[in-house]
C-alpha cells in the first residue's frame, strides 16, 4: 500500500442507503483472474442502460462531474458480498475516498487495506455535505487531511477517527503480510500448542478430503 497523508479531491453525493457491492461491481465483471479492467464495471447498472449506453441522467456521466473522486454515500455502504473487486473498481475508476455514516465491515477492511480511504461521519454531517454538493450542482472541492483526521469543504469542517493501525497504514504505507511474517516463529509455536490442545483441528481439511477420496 502506498503512503497517503492528504487527499485534495472533488466530492459528489450518491443518495442510496445500503448500497451493496453487487451494485458497485456486478457479477459479470468478476470473472477475471487478475485485478484489471474493473473500472468498466463500476456502478454498471446505474451508469449504463440495458443496451450498454451511458444513462445521461446519472451524475458520473455528466461532463460537469468527471472530476469526482470522493463519494458522499448513504449509510451501510458496501454491504453484501465480500468481493474486493468493488474496491479495486472504485480505485481504477479514480475514487480516492468515500464518506458515509457507516460501512459494511468486510468492505471497510478491503478498502482501507487497499488505500481507498473510508471516512465515517455522523448522518447529519453526511447530509450537510450532500446538501452542499447538491446545491453546487457540481463536485465540491474537498480537502482531506489524513494526518490530522479532518475533512474540509468550503462550508464545513469535520473531524473523523480511524483505528491507530489504519492511520499508520495510510501514513507509512505498510506491507501487512510482510509485517505478519515477522511473527512467523510465534505462529509456528502457537500452532503446535493449539494442535496439542485440539488435535482434531490439525490438517482438518486435508484429512477430511483424504478420507472422502480413500
Amino acid at each position: 500500500m502506498h503512503k497517503q497523508s492528504t487527499i485534495q479531491g472533488h466530492a459528489a453525493a450518491l443518495r442510496i442507503a445500503n448500497f451493496d457491492t453487487d451494485q458497485v461491481m456486478p457479477k459479470q465483471f468478476l470473472r477475471g483472474i487478475d485485478k484489471s479492467g474493473l473500472a468498466a464495471g463500476l456502478f454498471y447498472d446505474l451508469r449504463f442502460d440495458e443496451n450498454g449506453k451511458p444513462k445521461p441522467d446519472f451524475f458520473l456521466n455528466k461532463p460537469t462531474y468527471t472530476s469526482t473522486d470522493v463519494l458522499i454515500a448513504g449509510p451501510n455502504y458496501g454491504c453484501g458480498s465480500s468481493r474486493e473487486h468493488a474496491v479495486w473498481g472504485m480505485q481504477q475508476f479514480g475514487f480516492k475516498a468515500v464518506i458515509a455514516s457507516s460501512f459494511a465491515e468486510i468492505f471497510y477492511s478491503n478498502a482501507m487495506g487497499n488505500g481507498l480511504l473510508l471516512i465515517v461521519l455522523s448522518e447529519d454531517q453526511v447530509q450537510s455535505l450532500m446538501k452542499e454538493a447538491d446545491d453546487e450542482g457540481a463536485p465540491i472541492p474537498i480537502d482531506i487531511d489524513i494526518e490530522n483526521l479532518t475533512v474540509r469543504t468550503q462550508q464545513h469542517e469535520f473531524k473523523f477517527t480511524m483505528s491507530a493501525r489504519h492511520h499508520r497504514m495510510f501514513l507509512e504505507g505498510l506491507d501487512v503480510i510482510g509485517l505478519t511474517l515477522k511473527y512467523k516463529s510465534q505462529i509456528d509455536s502457537f500452532a503446535q500448542s493449539h494442535w496439542e490442545k485440539q488435535p482434531w483441528v490439525k490438517d482438518v481439511a486435508r484429512k477430511t478430503v483424504d478420507r472422502l477420496t480413500a
Binding site: 453484501g80 487495506g113 491507530a164 493501525r165 501487512v176 505478519t180 483441528v201 482438518v204
Partner: protein, 473 residues
C-alpha cells in the same frame, strides 16, 4: 478470572499475538476458497515468491461460476469462468491444497460442503472470501467473510490481522409456529434490527426457540446474520450440534473424543459476561416472512402490508422505501400475498440443504408447478443431491414440474448462466434481494423453502399455512 462471552473465548483461544488495543493476530483453523475471490490472492503470493504456510488447513471448492445443467461430465462453457476453475486447480495443485473440483461428485457450495463432511467443528475459527461464512456459528465455530487481500494474508501466514468486535446477544424464546422456519425467524429479526443493526458486532443467538431447531435450521439463521451487518454469528454448541459433528467426524473417537467433548463443554458465554447490546424476540408470534424491497431488512409477515411512506419519519429510510418500491414495482401500503411470480428458485448456502428440500416436497404434495412459472431446485452439494435422489425427493420435484439441477451457488448471485431477465419476479430461498442480484431488473422476494414451494404451485406469493393440511386441493 473475569467472565467472558463465547466470542471472547474463541478469540482468546486463537490469539497468537495481541497487536494493539483493537487488533490481534488471529489463528485460523480452516480457510475455504472459491474460484473467484482467490485468484488475485494466489497471484499476490507468486509475485512475492511466498508459499502457503499450512496447506492442510485450507480447502477449495468450485462453487460460484459453475453451470447447473444436467450434463456429465460437467462443463463450464464460458471461457473466463472456465479459466477461473482451471486456475484454481493449478493453484491448489501447486500449493498442495485439497480441492472439490468441477466434476467432483461432492462439489457444491462451500458452506454446504464443508460442514456436511465434518470439516467444521465447535470452537474453530473459519474464514473464507465469502460473506456467508457466518454460517458456521451454528456449530459454535467463529466464521466470517474476508476480502481477497486477506485471503492472501491467510494463505501466507494462516492468521489474520483481526479487529475485535463487540458482543451482541439475541435471545429468541418460545416455539416457532407451524408453517414457519428459521428463515422466517432471521428475516423477522433483520427487519427489526435493520441491515446495519449488527455492524461492529458478533451476534450470539440463544433462547428456548433455538433448542427445537435442527443444525441445518441453525445454519440458515447464522448464515443470514451478515445481512444485518454482523461480523459473525454464534450459537453455543449443545447436544444437537455435537451429535451433528460427531456423525460426520469418524476421526473423533476414543480418547480424542473425550478430550473434544470436554473442550466443547466450555464453549458458552459465562453467566455474567457483558454484551454491549441485547435484543429479545418471541418466536411464538412469528409468521412466514417475505421481503418486499431491495434490502434484506425490507421484509414483512405474509399477512401484513408494506409500510406506508407516511409511516416512515427518517428521510433516509423513506427515500430507501421509495427507491426500493420503484424497483420492485409494488406500492406502499399494499399486501404481498397474491402477487404473481414467474420464477421460483430453491437453493443457496442459506436454504440448499436436505431438510430444505424435504420441506419443499412436504408442501407441494400432489400439486404441480403453476402454469407460466419456471421453478428451479439447485441442491447445495453433490451429497445433498444424492441424498434427495435416494429419498425420492428428486422424483417428486420432477413429477411436480420443477427443474432438478446440479449443485452450485447458481441463481443466488447469478454468476453462472442461471440469470433472470429484467422484470421477472422470483420467489427465492436465497439471502439477498439486492437490485440486479439475480439478473438486471429482476425482482427477488426472499422467503423460506416452504413459502417458495407454495409460490411455485400457486403462481403467486402465498401464505403456506393456507396450503398445509389441504394437500390434494
Amino acid at each position: 478470572m473475569s467472565s467472558k462471552t463465547l466470542y471472547q473465548k474463541l478469540v482468546d483461544s486463537h490469539t497468537v499475538v495481541k497487536l494493539d488495543e483493537e487488533n490481534v493476530l488471529l489463528f485460523c483453523d480452516l480457510h475455504l476458497m472459491n474460484e473467484y475471490t482467490s485468484p488475485q490472492a494466489f497471484a499476490g503470493l507468486n509475485e512475492k515468491d511466498r508459499g502457503v504456510l499450512i496447506p492442510g488447513q485450507n480447502v477449495s471448492v468450485v462453487s460460484h461460476i459453475i453451470p447447473t445443467h444436467n450434463e456429465a461430465p460437467r462443463r463450464i462453457a464460458d471461457p473466463a469462468s472456465s479459466l477461473q476453475a482451471s486456475n484454481l486447480k493449478k493453484n491448489c495443485v501447486k500449493h498442495n491444497i485439497p480441492l472439490f473440483d468441477t466434476d467432483d461428485a461432492l462439489q457444491g457450495i462451500e458452506h454446504v460442503v464443508s460442514p456436511e463432511h465434518g470439516m467444521v467443528r465447535p470452537g474453530m475459527v473459519i474464514i473464507c472470501g465469502d460473506s456467508h461464512t457466518t454460517t458456521y456459528g451454528a456449530l459454535g465455530a467463529l466464521g466470517f467473510g474476508i476480502g481477497t487481500s486477506e485471503v492472501e494474508h491467510v494463505l501466507a501466514t494462516q492468521t489474520l490481522v483481526y479487529r475485535l468486535a463487540k458482543n451482541m446477544r439475541i435471545q429468541i424464546n418460545g416455539v416457532l409456529p407451524v408453517g414457519t422456519t428459521s428463515k422466517d425467524m432471521i428475516l423477522n429479526i433483520i427487519s427489526q434490527i435493520g441491515a446495519k443493526g449488527a455492524i461492529g458486532y458478533v451476534v450470539e443467538f440463544c433462547g428456548s426457540a433455538l433448542e427445537d431447531l435442527s443444525t441445518e435450521a441453525r445454519f440458515t439463521l447464522c448464515n443470514m446474520a451478515v445481512e444485518a451487518g454482523a461480523r459473525g454469528a454464534l450459537i453455543a454448541p449443545d447436544k444437537t450440534a455435537i451429535d451433528y459433528v460427531l456423525a460426520r467426524s469418524p476421526d473423533i473417537v476414543g480418547e480424542i473424543k473425550d478430550r473434544a467433548l470436554a473442550h466443547w463443554a466450555g464453549l458458552y458465554s459465562d453467566k455474567d459476561a457483558l454484551f454491549e447490546k441485547e435484543y429479545a424476540f418471541d418466536a411464538t408470534d412469528m409468521a412466514p416472512f417475505v421481503t418486499w424491497g431491495t434490502s434484506p431488512d425490507q421484509a414483512i409477515a405474509i399477512n401484513a402490508s408494506i409500510p406506508t411512506k407516511d409511516s416512515i419519519k427518517d428521510p433516509v429510510d423513506r427515500l430507501s422505501l421509495e427507491q426500493a418500491l420503484k424497483y420492485t414495482k409494488l406500492a406502499d401500503g399494499q399486501a404481498l400475498e397474491g402477487t404473481p411470480i414467474e420464477h421460483v428458485f430453491i437453493g443457496s448456502c442459506t436454504n440448499g440443504r436436505i431438510e430444505d428440500l424435504r420441506n419443499v416436497v412436504a408442501v407441494i404434495g400432489n400439486r404441480k408447478v403453476a402454469a407460466g412459472v419456471r421453478a428451479m431446485v439447485v441442491p447445495g452439494s453433490g451429497a445433498v443431491k444424492a441424498q434427495a435422489e435416494r429419498e425420492g425427493i428428486a422424483d417428486k420435484l420432477i413429477a411436480a414440474g420443477f427443474e432438478w439441477r446440479k449443485p452450485g451457488c447458481s441463481m443466488c448471485l447469478a454468476m453462472n448462466d442461471d440469470v433472470l431477465t429484467s422484470g421477472t419476479r422470483c420467489a427465492s430461498t436465497t439471502n439477498r434481494n439486492f437490485e440486479g442480484r439475480q439478473g438486471r431488473g429482476a425482482i427477488t422476494h426472499l422467503m423460506s423453502p416452504a413459502m417458495a414451494a407454495a409460490a411455485a404451485v400457486t403462481g403467486k406469493i402465498t401464505d403456506v399455512r393456507k396450503l398445509q393440511g389441504t394437500e390434494n386441493a
